[in-house]
Symmetry: C2
Subunit: 397 residues, 2 copies
């Protein structure tokens, strides 16, 4: 039984493809079922037979964005866990593979625990997936390198846009995803080719947002370049730990108690316009950044596939209660191995961007961070023309 959970990514289907292809290789596995919309589908017994899918469909999953089985964000009650186990038993399921983030690891961990309590032989394996890159005990998370590549290219292009038209559209704020951690926002630093290139300022939620410092930063860059490109995480918080912008509507609070964020870019544009008198506009690519397939990192696609395969192999080999992790072996050429980490350690834990990756002034990133992220995003970005721009001497009228 396999399912996908949490926010879709560019490569979560590559993990599904890895699971299915590997499962087909094992005689111990008599059938491959998929849960529609993750654990919700299991509870409803809304299951699909993945063995009926053609080899072509499975291969194509590798480059198909979003979650083909459907996804969910469902916090299970005690009764839900009982029901889940009941459905697994009814279908004779012995291997449970759940592709997701830390909420999903928690779900898998509890399910494994209940099965053990009830003496039902169920091997549970987690497959890491999150654009947020905030799972503990893995070098990085499948899904993240692709959003990093998307932002590297898109912020570079949007930065060139501001360099050209900054004479009128002076400040651009690009709001990225990142509720609790700044991994996604940090990746916008990849847009730079040379010192002084946009983004000029990068703010991560790991550091409190200080209004006065921010305005001084923006003004300084404006005086130096005549235009400013700022990237910010949606989850920026002020010195009291309050989100700069969070919805208070009941409908926007999810079942894990997370408030829907967004709008911090608009808040900052207002601040810049009001306090500095500069025209500011926001780009908020939203979900497009996390699922875009055409800029998926090939490293990411490959690893997502491999962690899916590994979860099946380890389950068949007798392991249970682990998430497959990625262990970096070398940077040039980039190579990774796979490891195992107890689901319990991953469950509900969050890995923030560490201090050594955050610039000394409390914003921006360090060279150490760039060394970490660069090998993950695949081939170099395309090279753009830069005019030499030889000046023509003025002539008397």
């Amino acid at each position: 039984m396999v399912g996908q959970s949490g926010g879709p990514t560019a490569v979560i289907n590559a993990s599904l493809a890895g699971v299915v292809r590997e499962a087909l290789r094992h005689e111990a596995i008599a059938g491959i079922l998929g849960m529609r919309h993750g654990i919700e589908g299991l509870l409803r017994e809304d299951l699909v037979d993945l063995e009926q899918e053609s080899a072509e469909t499975i291969e194509r999953l590798r480059t198909t964005p979003s979650a083909a089985l459907g996804s969910c964000r469902h916090k299970l009650s005690e009764a839900d866990y009982e029901r889940a186990l009941q459905v697994l038993r009814a279908h004779g399921i012995r291997y449970f593979i759940y592709i997701g983030g830390n909420d999903s690891a928690d779900t898998s961990h509890r399910l494994a625990h209940l099965a053990a309590q009830e003496g039902y032989d169920l091997r549970v394996m987690g497959v890491p997936k999150t654009v947020d890159n905030d799972l503990v005990e893995t070098d990085h998370c499948p899904g993240h390198p692709s959003v990093a590549r998307w932002l590297a290219v898109s912020v570079r292009d949007a930065g060139l846009d501001t360099a050209a038209i900054g004479v009128v559209d002076t400040v651009k704020v690009i709001e990225t995803m990142g509720r609790d951690t700044g991994w996604i926002t940090a990746a916008t630093a990849l847009a730079r080719e040379r010192p002084g290139d946009p983004p000029h300022l990068i703010y991560l939620p790991e550091r409190p947002f200080v209004r006065e410092t921010f305005l001084a930063d923006v003004e300084r860059v404006y005086k130096e370049h005549g235009h400013v490109v700022v990237t910010v995480a949606e989850g920026l918080r002020d010195e009291r730990g309050e989100y700069l912008s969070a919805s208070r509507r009941d409908v926007d609070i999810d079942r894990f108690g997370h408030a829907q964020l967004g709008g911090v870019g608009a808040v900052l544009c207002d601040l810049i316009a009001t306090e500095l008198g500069l025209k500011a506009r926001v780009d908020k690519p939203g979900t497009i950044q996390r699922v875009s397939s055409l800029l998926a990192s090939p490293v990411d696609v490959d690893e997502a596939d491999r962690v899916g395969q590994e979860a099946v192999r380890q389950a068949v080999a007798g392991q249970s209660g682990f998430m497959v992790s990625i262990v970096r072996e070398s940077d040039e050429p980039y190579r990774s191995a796979l490891g195992l980490v107890p689901l319990e350690r991953v469950a509900n834990a969050v890995r923030p961007v560490p201090p050594e990756f955050i610039g000394p002034a409390g914003h921006d990133v360090t060279a150490a961070y760039l060394s970490y992220i660069r090998p993950l995003i695949g081939p170099p970005l395309p090279v753009y023309a830069r005019l030499a721009g030889g000046r023509v001497p003025a002539r008397p009228a």
Copy 2:
């Protein structure tokens, strides 16, 4: 003398490359100068010598997004026109090529008029450029097919995202550019492969936005699919002709009197949450959509290059006061020829999406529109996997 004006695009540099390469072929042309930030650079005599650029740089311009010379939005005073002519005279300029939209066509037209009045032999040619696709008397505008391709791919991916996670993130509103016309928003229809695919609802500014109809539309789609993807133009207006969302800040009014728009997506999310109790989030890709180079339409790159070349050829051949236009010759295979249209007719005119391209209910697009746009966006989009999804029968517990 060549310059770039208005909002940058993915292909305005391809037009610059076309101008430079063609100019190098003509003995009548002794030098090629570029204005930094368009007409503002001319007024400041901030000029670069484009003959010094390497052939490699010029070739690379074809695939370099944004405006390499810098751009501007500058409305000239009478004194400005005098000054512009003075600088052109001082440098012995006989050909003036301005790449831009309808504001730029107006500038070029007035400059040509002044030169004629003063008996200075200046040949002025306009090169069309606008993601908005709203220039009159041309089949389409370079820059637009690339934003259309970007949105086709990105809205398709974001639509798959909602199909997967719509069980919790129910409504997605994607706000596209498009202040006065709906061409950009209409292109989101290209994201659909099959009937019922997202986007489910498309709203263009050519039709007044009616709150009640909108809410009824969203509710109907929600009942049918369980999730809703809506695309809207930033320039939606209500029945009184007022923008649903426009900044009133002085700093946001540009020199042509246009108010900076944006935020209509957020306004609609609020409306949906408040009135329908559905969770709604906005993706607002902003300037990223207009400059993204990696999804540029190859048809667009080619045509942008050709209209640049043609402007030079026509100027050398003695023409003046025209914009190069694109004339569609056939759809399959797609072929276009180039024509000329008086700058005066293009200046400050706007071509809305015509009624035959807008769905009968006042939103969405027609088959005729899809026939118009499809050939322009280049090769077919990549094919994604769709699970057959054979259902597994329920089993007694």
